[in-house]
Symmetry: C2
Subunit: 391 residues, 2 copies
């Protein structure tokens, strides 16, 4: 019974640190900045009720039937229109609907990565991406990044040195740091990638959640003929429990991704795609987004304000213009993993920095989520955390 002989890639699969922490912090008395959850009280529940009812109102049963791997055509058109409005020239047949952008990442990794291949990532980067790359036995190589995001000169050097199969970037309100690349860096990074002819994955889950500052053009809108794919999701703008995202890329790569998805799960659910489409078509999406931005902006302000008021000298943090996270750097020598049990004792939680690094590092860092806690609780939680930091 214990005789399983697993594939060698299984050694790369480790339980998500975040999920384990979430289990500890489910008690309501803990103020958790650890998760990456949107605020459920802001979900468009009444509109989704109407949308599901309208979608299920047809009489032909096709909403419960198998459907095409590529996705529901009207939804693909909606997505293409959305991308076109931000100058990404994707046609509807360049869209593959996925079960969240996590599946997009998995399918792309499956397609591109053989064991031992290098993949360039930010330093730090999204933990879920590291997990996926590890599961395909890629060698995730961190590209030096500063307060403005990934450094183009360092990227050029890494491209020459490691000859990676892919580069993975989250240019806007990056998870975990909240950092957004400026326009010049975007142009330079794309230029460097195009010269090296290495495909890049632009992962852009938080783009619509901007509370201040000016929108930046997506890397994909600057890419021209450079090989790339754009990963989008409805998890942060509508609801993550639908598990709906997409990949937009050029047709020959899309055709390969369709085959990979066919093997993975045949297609994404028909009912949920049609219900989402009805929501997008029938609701006032932009006023919903406005509400999200106002409320999340208040929460960001509450967290930044509380950090300024309560955190001791020598601690630094990012002050992001959007997204769901900010990133705290404690003085050299501090260890956020060791501090965590004491924080939980004080009924406050966060994610330690190390898991977001491809190589050892970030021991003195932590990620704080502000989207799923009210401003009052944020104030209280940051006070508690400040006490923990003071020892």
């Amino acid at each position: 019974m214990q005789s399983y002989s697993f594939a060698s890639r299984v050694s790369g699969m480790q339980s998500s640190v975040i999920r384990e922490i979430l289990k500890v912090t489910e008690q309501p008395e803990v103020i958790s900045f650890a998760g990456g959850l949107p605020a459920p009280e802001l979900f468009p529940l009444p509109a989704m009720r109407l949308a599901a009812k309208a979608a299920l109102g047809g009489e032909d049963g096709s909403i419960l039937q198998y459907s095409t791997t590529e996705g529901y055509p009207p939804l693909r058109e909606w997505i293409a229109g959305y991308l076109n409005r931000m100058d990404i020239p994707a046609a509807p047949d360049q869209i593959l609907v996925t079960s969240g952008s996590q599946q997009g990442l998995d399918l792309l990794a499956k397609l591109f990565i053989d064991p031992g291949d290098a993949v360039l990532v930010g330093n730090p980067t999204y933990l879920g991406a590291l997990q996926v790359f590890n599961s395909y036995q890629a060698r995730a190589v961190p590209v030096p990044s500063d307060a403005y995001g990934m450094d183009p000169a360092a990227l050029a050097q890494a491209l020459r040195r490691y000859r990676p199969k892919l580069a993975y970037l989250m240019p806007t309100f990056q998870n975990p740091t909240g950092t957004t690349l400026g326009l010049e860096r975007r142009i330079e990074l794309v230029k460097v990638l195009a010269e090296a002819d290495v495909p890049f994955l632009e992962d852009s889950p938080y783009r619509e959640l901007r509370y201040s500052g000016t929108a930046m053009p997506p890397l994909s809108s600057l890419a021209g003929d450079a090989p790339h794919a754009f990963l989008g999701t409805f998890s942060k703008t509508v609801a993550p429990g639908l598990r709906l995202g997409w990949i937009a890329t050029e047709p020959s790569l899309l055709a390969k991704l369709v085959l990979a998805k066919q093997g993975a799960d045949l297609h994404t659910g028909t009912l949920v795609q049609r219900a989402l489409y009805r929501y997008l078509a029938d609701s006032d999406v932009s006023s919903h987004l406005g509400r999200l931005r106002r409320e999340y902006g208040r929460r960001r302000d509450a967290m930044v304000g509380a950090l300024r008021r309560h955190f001791p000298a020598g601690v630094e943090w990012t002050e992001p213009e959007g997204g769901m996270f900010l990133w705290v750097t404690l003085p050299e020598g501090a260890n956020s993993t060791e501090l965590l049990p004491r924080a939980i004792e004080q009924r406050v939680a966060y994610v330690p920095g190390s898991p977001f690094f491809a190589l050892p590092g970030g021991e003195n860092c932590m990620r704080l989520n502000f989207s799923n806690t009210s401003p009052e609780r944020i104030e209280e939680g940051i006070e508690r955390l400040a006490q923990v930091l003071r020892g």
Copy 2:
């Protein structure tokens, strides 16, 4: 732009023959026995409307939120109860909810298979399983099978000779042949697998669709301590457009599968899991299944009757006790792939036999689906096909 360097496994991905055929046969004047679709007019649409409404009726928004990778606890309990009633001793925490059983197959393949590993399959076997195994660069080794299914002596020999990582079996109303293993074969096959200590995957999508004969115990109910996993789905009993299935297996393997699923898509949709659970809890599922069995049984009878009436001598076919398919064997030397364009000219379609074989073979075979065509159209379609066969 054409510079992609794909992973070597991409060479194993080929567009599904079935999907390509389905595109040709979408015209309503074609009577298609090619697909593998349940009849949409039999979907429990009114009950699913009520279930979705009830599930979305809560006020806390959690139905649209991220949820656990393992699946919705009440649904896992329902599945465990269902398995227990057929003597599979699975506890709720031995269930992983998946996006259809296709995802279960993909996750298991990802976990077990390194490039070049052997996997034993029926001969013929489910096309979608061959695609998954190919995508992980497994070597699919067919085990000789006869009219009663896989041969235990041949299985024992293949286990010794190929030392496979897995054996894949669909013991009941197999796709594509419709064949069901008898009790003695089941006992023998499990014994042989247990002795070799090779895990088996029991894929059981059609089990509930029995129209005559006696239910057989699942292999998993006979397995004792032998390593195995059971793949189930709601696609054939409720609706495939939900994309809901499950894996049931022992806890240490399940924990690995949970990690693999976490990387693949975080979790299966919250809304759709809860809506299905409400359907299962609030509806008269057994009378719905009774209706399916009566109507599909009529269609099977219509097809078998029409074959007897119209098909020329020298053609053989299976007469399954359930499921959605039967399997036709033309005389030696006939080629069903070459016949297909002539059949489509006569406005009737089927799937040629070859794609269901891991190695070359089955050129004189075809798979016919009877679940998605009315008895009248079945009669008409089989007449047309008989004319094609007569040349």
